[in-house]
Amino acid sequence: MSDVLNIVQVDPARDTGYEDAPPRMGFFTDTSLCIGCKACEVACKEWNSVPEDGLDFTGMSMDNTQGLSADTWRHVAFIEQREIATDAPGDFRWLMASDVCKHCTHAACLDVCPTGALFRTEFGTVVVQDDVCNGCGYCVPACPYGVVAIREEDGGAHKCTLCYDRLGVGQEPACAKSCPTNSIQFGPLDELRERAGERVEALHAAGVEDAQLYGHDPADGVGGDGAFFLLLDEPEVYGLPPDPVVTTRDLPAMWRHAAVAAGLLAVGVASTFAGRRR
């Protein structure tokens, strides 16, 4: 944790140009407290009027929602592990985790959006303006977490807004409000990071060695997530990428390579006219 504190903190709202930005707000989802009740999924759908997106039976677990999408902004993953490293026969455990948009410090979706529909709010969160989005779909493959998606019915991109409307009037997001175990905690990101550090230490002291924070580190490939997690297994077990990187980190190098390639094309074509007449 000491490494984390030494990194100079990036304040995305202030960097965007909000001069009197409120503290950066976010989620700390402590999956060790999640009971898989999916109240967050329901509360999110209700508050944000997110349409129904298929009543499927997957048969893979108690999870029939399957993943985040344009019409699912909170998704409770449900992992059944039958083989834990204990000697007791028949032992198994359930891992439950409520996934959500990470509201990255360096957000690829926002960077690549060609219309400016995706924007940074004063709370440091990332929101799609539905009336500006033209449905180009660039944000969809740009997201390293597979969060933002196109809604077929209206052709536009949709994702979690961290309840921008509720934040504006001092209310906490619907999912956090509805969470019965405080697995979803909402608050200023600094406070949440501190609290998460204490929680993971307490869990380690209690013998839960696999407890680890995910997305909390401002030094990671996306500059830290505005919504981060405490996990009890490796990230990929929950469907999260182990080491996500914002694609636009490499954009200067890409433009340089493209410029050299363009120059080569011009020189190459010119060279075919040199010398011979035919």
Partner: protein, 329 residues
Amino acid sequence: MNTSGVTKDGAVGDRPERDAHVSPGRRRRKRRDEPEFTSYYGRAILNEPTWAALDIAGYFFLGGLAGASSVLAAGAELTGRPALARGAKVGAAGAISLSLVALVHDLGRPSRFLNMLRVFKVTSPMSVGVWLLSAYAPAAGVAAACDVTGRARPLGRVATATAATLGPAVASYTAVLMCSTAVPAWHDGHREMPFVFVGSAAAAAAGLGLLVAPVDQAGPARRLALLGAAGELVASQLLERRLGMVAEPYRAGRSGRLMKVAKTLTVAGAVGGALAGRRSRPAAALAGAALLAASACTRFGIFEAGKASARDPKYTVIPQRQRRDARAA
């Protein structure tokens, strides 16, 4: 036998142990010894691009063809090859017009196409591309129109020069557009992809030149075919080498088949054009058609390879784990 029940007086009878029993499973090995990758029920981590192949891979092909053709047209005009110049100009204008239709058609909300012109963002290759096309497409159109009608020749010369200046950028920026995503088979090849794209664009423009120009004017097109094909093949090889296991989709499945066809047609078109194309017009036309088809296959192959790499979580998890473990070590 369970004899328990609930009456008005409360619970009665024996209540045996209620613990659920499950069969003993395989003991889990220590996580760090597991080389295989895990995922959430095999589900993809990334969202697959929603772009339609015909629109977007089609645009990458047409945009490349147009951009490189504009350069070829300018060279042909300067060196007195009117048939090659006219064919390349008309081809560029037609290809870029079709591109614009495909790009608007692919939007989820086509009526809001103009929203892309409310901002300019260098962090968004699509935004850069829209502005680039806004300058290039009219120039390419005017260049072709002036050539075909024979009117306003000075304007035509300015338009030809403008299109030739912007053409290489039109041909190469699409590689950045594609690579600036989280899609492993695209992003991880971002250094080589622009060279694959301009090579493919050069081969396509050369193919068009072989189709439209008589043998005695098509010399530059024949040489460009060889140059473009060589560039594309070398860059592809380097790209696949860099990608490691993420290169699998470029060799296997539908995308792998497309790439194989593309390579075969590229070599056949370039070599055939250079050898037989200098004597026989039909042979040159055949080689030209092969080069155009090859370029299209390359773009569709790369497009499909990216989608396949986004669909399978192993291409996301394994390289990222390796990167993380290497950093930790």
